[in-house]
């Protein structure tokens, strides 16, 4: 049997987490480098996946691994990646090292804090990040519903501690206040996602029951179920299918997050440190949208089609609503959070537009949004760490004292408003086109989101970076080498993917095609195809 | 025996009906007796009856074990603790939690009825006796099962027992934090505090009877509860010394006094003649 690449990709960071946690308190630096090393190793493995992955190969999943796990309940340890998963895994593995570098000093114990030999916040921070990475990776890989659910939920634990345990250094606010708000945010995050998860669990069990009822032996295996459905051995009655679909979708909608289940995100992203915020929005939340593509659509195509109008509506609301609230924010990080909500609206819209462009664009969007948000949020984090405040009003004229910081911030912002030439434009336009070709009205409404995006990004930039230099900003240092190392590659990547996204689209396309075939949808045909026009000519 | 019978021997029936009543009575007594000693004893009775039933049901080994281990060991352990805690302490059966008793009665009634009803509609007319199972001897049969099919469970229960023993030790063992005070230290403390400078009398010494639960008298004649064993004190099992003895003592001294004075006056008369 060949080398279990997928398992390795998930195991390496897990091992890394344990190893990092085990580093003694005194050897803080060692722990950091160790964690970084493991994350890089994961990156290498993810790269190998990307290389070994053959876009044109037949069959939905590749590099599959399958072992019996809990025989009595037909739970199998089944891993496999399609074009969508492999790209997202690559994104995750790529972002984690940057997150670590950006948060290099976030978890250092405060000066003057008692040198307790047991207390090892730094080790914990990096170990938790690695733990999250491991879980995210495996939930991208899992093709067994139960396995996926397991890690989809387990992810909450490290995230909870990352949000609740590590926040910005209190600036104007008192330590107690920050601590209180932080724990509030963490609990809110946990409760929302747990609620979603529990409902999903009910649906998972229901799925098992249905399969057991109809196939004789209950199973959680995605491929088996899909196969059975295709063969007609599995005939979900519409009501059941819709109930199960809603159960799954609810969990993913919370995670994504989709309006009106979004309110945990601004708190979480606002209170957590910038790297953790990136972890939330760029990595963890992607599991939600990804799962919509892989599970909702493939397991319950009928119900998906049934629910599409509502979901499209919700997505539109998310887009406009998130953007409007972003305009109204006074807190940099919350602003980015609401912007993300708007973007997730685009992703969901693309997924449920049920067109190749829409879903391909949505997948691409996940990647690009990950990178662009990471860029913007991390730079914002650097800014905040310098001034010790998250309020936009406390800034002004940064561009004068720290031009490079301002420049990178602007690029991140432009990516966020999806300027052509930067990566997000491609995906956003694909989503729009995909949506428009099926629901013209929705497509037009969504384009409003583009204008609003320009509004909040530029307002943010104008208030913080331009204008006369304010007190507290004066003498602010420009980006340091470490920070440049974090930002430069992200920006380079944004530019490259904006100009030449082909490598990604080539990998994504077949997978999307497969999903489409599962949903039994095909792109709407143009009413005056080119060839006819040329024939007429 | 026959493999599948429909009824048991009349003897067993008789035995069942008699002993069954005894068992139920014992059980009720266990629940209702005020003093825990009585409860314990009646429970023991019930257990022995059950042992007999085991035997009647062809569980010879269990029957013996029931007598030896349960009645012999466990119930004795119970009695032991009862003694430790207070043999004569009768706890009031007055209910303190509101509605507890009604609820209990209700539940018990419902439970019993349902259970019996369940057995009733599940009852089977004929039963396979233990003839074949016990053909090689009951003990051997059990042994064969225990050491083959249930060997793991058996091992685990062994571990459980050991754990239990250790646990009991840990729970009941009391660590002595400072060495016991020597007699010298005790006396010195008494002198320093100035109370009861002389050693206490043994209980019951001056009081004409040797019961260990009677407080001894201090030199000034007052009874001191300190002389009684702490355990008894803790249980409040101290026989109060009725004033009688003391009065007798007082009367004796009175008479002695009178006699002395009386004698002197007689002497004076005799010299005068």
């Amino acid at each position: 049997m060949s080398f279990p690449l997928l398992t390795a990709t998930a195991v390496v960071p897990a091992v890394g987490a344990v190893a990092t946690a085990a580093v003694p308190a005194a050897r803080r630096a060692a722990a950091k480098w160790l964690a970084l090393g493991f994350s890089l190793a994961t990156l290498v493995l993810a790269a190998v996946q990307l290389v070994r992955f053959d876009p044109d190969a037949a069959g939905p999943f590749q590099l599959t691994e399958s072992h019996a796990w809990i025989k009595d309940f037909g739970v199998r340890y089944e891993l496999g990646v399609d074009g969508i998963a492999v790209v997202l895994i690559a994104l995750t593995a790529l972002l984690i090292p940057f997150v670590m570098l950006a948060g290099w000093h976030d978890a250092d114990p405060l000066e003057g804090s008692s040198p307790n030999r047991r207390w090892r916040p730094t080790q914990g921070f990096f170990a938790l990040i690695l733990m999250v990475e491991a879980m995210v990776v495996i939930s991208f890989e899992a093709t067994d519903v139960f396995l996926f659910y397991l890690f989809f939920e387990a992810m909450l634990i490290p995230m909870y501690f990352l949000i609740g345990g590590f926040g910005d250094r209190a600036g104007e606010r008192s330590e107690e206040e920050t601590a209180a708000q932080r724990s509030y945010a963490a609990v809110k995050f946990l409760l929302y996602n747990l609620a979603g998860g529990l409902i999903m669990m009910a649906a998972v069990i229901g799925l098992y029951a249905v399969t057991a009822d109809q196939l004789g032996t209950g199973t959680f295996s995605l491929q088996e179920i899909v196969q059975a459905r295709v063969d007609g051995r599995l005939e979900l009655p519409p009501v059941t299918e819709r109930a199960l679909f809603l159960g799954f979708f609810f969990a993913f909608a919370v995670k994504a997050p989709l309006w009106p289940l979004h309110t945990w995100l601004p708190n979480a992203m606002g209170e957590a440190t910038a790297p953790v915020a990136v972890l939330i929005t760029a990595v963890v939340d992607k599991v939600g949208t990804f799962a919509m593509l892989r599970f909702c659509l493939q397991l319950f195509p009928g119900a998906s089609k049934w629910a599409t109008p509502v979901i499209v509506a919700l997505a539109l609301v998310s887009i406009v609503y998130g953007a409007l609230l972003a305009v109204g924010q006074r807190d940099i990080k919350r602003l980015v959070a609401y912007a993300s909500i708007s973007h997730f609206g685009f992703i969901v819209l693309g997924i449920f537009a049920m067109t190749t462009q829409g879903q391909g664009g949505a997948t691409l969007y996940m990647v690009n949004h990950g990178i662009s948000t990471a860029a913007l949020m991390l730079v914002a984090g650097f800014l905040i760490s310098r001034r010790g405040s998250r309020l936009i009003a406390d800034y002004g004229g940064v561009q004068k004292v720290a031009p490079v910081l301002a420049g990178t911030f602007l690029v991140g912002g432009l990516a966020t408003l999806s300027l052509p030439g930067l990566a997000p434009f491609v995906s956003e336009f694909l989503v729009l086109v995909g949506t428009f070709s099926r629901y013209p009205a929705a497509g037009i409404i969504a384009t409003v989101g583009i204008v609003l995006a320009a509004l909040y990004v530029l307002v943010l930039y104008q208030r913080t970076m331009t204008g006369p230099v304010t007190e507290g900003v004066r003498g602010m240092p420009d980006l340091r080498v470490r920070e440049l190392v974090v930002v430069a590659p992200l920006i380079a990547l944004l530019l490259f993917l904006g100009v030449y996204p082909k490598p990604l689209t080539e990998i994504i396309d077949p997978a999307v095609g497969h999903t489409m075939s599962q949903v039994e949808k095909s792109d709407p045909k143009p009413d005056v195809p080119v060839n006819e026009a040329e024939a007429a000519k | 025996m026959n493999t599948a019978a429909t009824a048991t021997s009349t003897g067993e029936a008789v035995q069942f009906w008699i002993l069954g009543i005894v068992a139920v009575a014992g059980a009720l007594a266990t629940v209702l007796m005020k003093k825990s000693v009585h409860s314990a004893l009646s429970l023991a009775g019930t257990m022995i009856v059950l042992a007999v039933f085991y035997l009647a049901n062809g569980a010879y080994f269990l029957g013996i074990v029931q007598v030896v281990v349960y009645t012999g060991a466990i119930m004795m352990l119970f009695l032991f603790v009862v003694m430790l805690v207070g043999v004569t302490a009768a706890d009031s059966l007055k209910e303190t939690i509101r509605g507890q008793r009604w609820l209990a009665a209700l539940c018990a009634l419902g439970f019993g009825i349902l259970l019996i009803a369940g057995i009733g509609n599940a009852s089977l007319k004929e039963f396979a006796g233990l003839g074949r199972a016990n053909s090689g001897g009951n003990v051997e049969g059990l042994a064969a099962l225990i050491f083959t099919k249930y060997v793991f469970a058996f091992e685990i229960t062994g571990a459980l027992l050991i754990t239990a023993a250790v646990g009991a030790m840990v729970l009941t063992h009391r660590e002595r934090t400072e060495h016991a005070a020597t007699q010298r230290e005790l006396s010195e403390r008494r002198v320093r505090t100035g109370r009861q400078v002389p050693p206490l009398p043994a209980p019951g010494v001056y009081a004409r009877h040797n019961a260990v639960d009677v407080p001894g008298l201090l030199p000034d004649g007052t009874p001191s509860e300190l002389t009684v064993n702490p355990t008894l004190r803790a249980r409040g099992q101290i026989r109060d010394v009725s004033g009688a003895a003391l009065q007798e003592l007082a009367a004796l001294e009175q008479r002695a006094q009178e006699w002395r004075e009386h004698g002197r006056s007689e002497d004076a008369k005799g010299v005068g003649k």
């Binding site: - | 029936a13 139920v24 429970l43 019930t46 059950l50 019993g112 259970l115 039963f127 199972a133 099962l145």
Partner: protein
Amino acid sequence: MNPVNYLYLAALLFTIGATGVLIRRNAIVVFMCVELMLNACNLAFVTFSRLHGNLDGQIIAFFTMVVAAAEVVIGLAIIVTIFRSRHSASVDDANLLKL
């Protein structure tokens, strides 16, 4: 007579024991009632083994006894410790379950 009667008896004893658990405050007596319930179960097991003609029921009864023994040892030890600390063997005095 049908051995099922033994089952009826067992049910009866079990109920009585349970009632005792509910209405008695003295920990020791409560414990005895628990023992009573266990014994009732044993009786049922033994009867079952007779009804079905195999020894598994007796085995279970046997294990029940062992476990009961262990439980009694620990339980009594606990009672003694509680008695030491608060000079009472009443279960109601140990109402620290309430937060």
